[in-house]
């Protein structure tokens, strides 16, 4: 994410060296462009813009909206999320662990004779196996979603844009990131302007 694009100066922001006076001249801090952010009025316009951008060969881009717009994700060539298999594996692990725990505890660890029933009375282990499956599926869902999305992430370059506050309110955004091989500040801006956005803004890292 923080790699510098070809075409932009490669000076990384310098740290304030200790011992330097307040008005000592600092090395020129060149802010690095994160990307170009185009704002749209409707979800359809946003999806349309994403489709156009993908068609034009951009690969590092994302769309942002206050509610899910499936067409945008489709246009981003992300037709199917990976959460299904993740949660399935989580649930399967939990179910197996739950069953083995009961089997071990009541057969080997602390075998109890309850009314002469077999120690390995598997039908009575079913409810807890099921509950453990549900529990681990839900927990893998939550933590898997956060991990795969890279959340929680409180610093994101997009939050530097004032307009982006409306991404959770009433505006729809498309951001073409500077890491895109095809990214070029002037050309990409012109391209985005051609999609009739409400505004196009350069967002800094």
């Amino acid at each position: 994410m923080s790699t510098v694009t070809p075409g932009t100066p490669t000076t990384a922001p310098l740290h304030h060296a200790p011992g330097q006076g307040e008005h000592a001249t600092q090395a020129p801090l060149v802010p690095v462009t994160y990307g170009l952010l185009a704002m749209f009025e409707t979800g359809d316009a946003m999806s349309h813009a994403v489709a156009k951008a993908v068609e034009a060969g951009y690969t590092h881009l994302d769309a942002y909206s206050p509610y899910p717009v499936g067409e945008a994700a489709d246009a981003l060539k992300f037709p199917k999320s990976e959460m299904g298999p993740v949660m399935f594996i989580g649930g399967l692990t939990g179910a197996c662990a739950g069953f083995i725990m009961q089997y071990w505890a009541n057969t080997w660890g602390y075998a109890l004779n309850i009314g002469g029933r077999p120690y390995f009375s598997w039908p009575s282990f079913v409810p807890i196996t099921f509950e453990m499956m549900v529990l681990t599926t839900a927990l893998t869902g939550l933590f898997g979603l956060l991990a795969i999305c890279g959340l929680p992430r409180y610093h994101h370059p997009l939050f530097n844009s004032k307009a982006f506050e409306r991404a959770t309110r009433d505006r729809f955004f498309v951001c073409i990131e500077a890491t895109d091989p095809k990214f070029n500040l002037a050309d990409t801006r012109a391209f985005l302007n051609g999609l009739h956005p409400l505004s196009v803004e350069e967002v800094m890292e």
Partner: protein, 474 residues
């Protein structure tokens, strides 16, 4: 079909779902939806009703604090429990509360899978209700333990004594069922809240609100990729919560049904318990939603149409429950078991007959005659009355079941149960805990899902055109 002419374009005046009409007619758009729901939280101006509800709940919570302190000091002997009725109020209240919680999951999960879009405006606060109700429910077994600080002995953990729980017992199943239920409800609720918290973060103007909601929102930025994953997770959670909610009350009913007490040892118990849970849960949702929507003027979101549907669901589950009562009595008579039939007669005409007839009246006779009428279903006053009646009736149902213990097989084992002041104090106190948490929730979190209401708006007004979570979740 391919050659058939396209039907004339549908009128776009009033879209799809009847419950959306007020949203459309009152010209809501993305911003006004966010303001109507979000500003309640952000502005912090609360109607007088909020204070009445909160202070009443908070006062009752103090009763709980006193009751619990006294309980810890003296022990469970302060309650009316005795040998035939070893659990008494503790299990009555446990089952009652957990049943109430089930409506939240039913609304958020089962209705989600059934594409019932009207659920959108009530799912958030019924999920909150679920969490608080399960907290109240969990309180009772913990307090009943006598030594609640050893509660972790319920769970399997490696210990020096080498002792493990007995996994063949429904009571152990119950521990897992309730723990899982609480955790999964919390996860479901929180995942649903994340985009709304992000909306509040960006809408907030006060610094502390930006920080708090910002932290809770986890840096959510509404990326299309994230949304796709989010919807998938939400859908799967709905899918697993559906069998979960049924399993939880089934396991609760096993606590009774696996024993050999007459009238408990019945295969009707699991479905009968689940239907009763939904019945009382819907009653609680409506009983709370009616005053709240009036105080906060949210009639555009929680409409008469919602009340109508909820009333119908209660009518259905009410009949299922009534069938359960009928079946219990019928099977006892038809089964020719001396004990089953004898206990039935004791239940109907014995010393506790008054509780049975209160149950029949408040749970069957009154609600099931009243709810047939649409006028009653859409009249806030009458519906509130019906809901309170159902809540009382469902409480008495569990009381009647538990009290069966005083009249089982041998008359020598018969007994008497009467709750003490501290039983009532704990029960009232748990209601206080519930109300306090619920009113704090109303104050600090959006009570209706902003994101989902925005999706419901027609496209013309900036919304997702009635699309709802999961319809786009491959």
């Amino acid at each position: 079909m391919a050659t058939a002419e396209l039907p004339p374009a549908r009128s776009t005046e009033l879209p799809l779902e009847p419950e959306m009409h007020p949203l459309v007619q009152n010209k809501h758009d993305l911003v006004s939806v966010g303001d109507a729901i979000g500003e309640v939280v952000l502005k912090g101006e609360h109607p007088r009703g909020w204070w009445i509800g909160f202070l009443a709940g908070f006062a009752m919570l103090q009763v709980l604090a006193i009751a619990v302190c006294w309980l810890f000091y003296v022990g469970v002997g302060i309650w009316g429990i005795n040998v035939p009725t070893a659990w008494g109020f503790a299990i009555v209240n446990f089952v009652w509360w957990i049943g109430i919680g089930h409506a939240g999951t039913l609304i958020s999960a089962i209705l989600l899978l059934l594409h019932q879009k009207w659920r959108t405006s009530i799912n958030r606060f019924s999920e909150a209700m679920t969490i608080f109700a399960v907290m109240c429910a969990g309180l009772f077994p913990l307090l009943h333990m006598g030594r609640p600080w050893f509660f972790y002995w319920l769970y399997p953990f490696p210990n020096v004594a080498g002792v493990w729980p007995q996994f063949r017992s429904p009571l152990t199943w119950d521990v897992f069922a309730v723990t899982t239920y609480f955790t999964v409800s919390l996860v479901f609720w929180y995942i649903g809240l994340v985009p709304d918290l992000a909306a509040l973060r960006d809408q907030a103007r006060k610094r502390w609100q930006q920080i708090v909601y910002g932290l809770l929102a986890l840096g959510w930025r509404g990326s299309a990729i994230h949304w796709r994953r989010y919807e998938k997770v939400y859908l799967i959670l709905g899918g697993i919560s559906t069998p979960l909610v049924l399993s939880v009350h089934t396991v609760v009913s096993f606590d009774f049904a696996v024993s050999i007490v007459p009238l408990w040892h019945a295969t009707i118990f699991p479905p009968f318990f689940v239907a009763g849970a939904i019945y009382s849960g819907f009653a609680m949702v409506v009983a709370i939603a009616l005053p709240v929507r009036k105080w906060y003027k949210l009639e555009d979101f929680f409409t008469d149409h919602h009340m109508d549907i909820m009333g119908k669901v209660m009518l259905t589950t009410g009949f299922l429950v009534t069938y359960g009562y009928f079946s219990e009595a019928y099977m006892a008579w038809y089964g020719h078991s001396l004990y089953e039939w004898g206990t039935t007669l004791e239940r109907m005409f014995g010393p506790y007959a008054w509780t049975y007839w209160i149950l029949i009246f408040t749970n069957c006779v009154f609600p099931l005659t009243a709810l047939w009428s649409k006028k009653i279903r859409t009249s806030p006053f009458w519906l509130e009355l019906v809901c309170i009646s159902v809540l009382i009736g469902m409480w008495f149902e569990r009381y009647v079941i538990v009290i069966t213990l005083t009249r089982e097989y041998v008359p020598a084992g018969w007994g008497h149960y009467s709750p003490t002041f501290w039983d009532y104090a704990t029960m009232i106190g748990s209601l206080g805990l519930f109300l306090t948490l619920f009113f704090l929730f109303l104050r600090y979190l959006p009570m209706i899902s902003i994101t989902e209401m925005r999706e419901l708006l027609p496209k013309k007004q900036g919304g997702g055109g009635g699309h709802s979570i999961m319809e786009n979740a491959p």
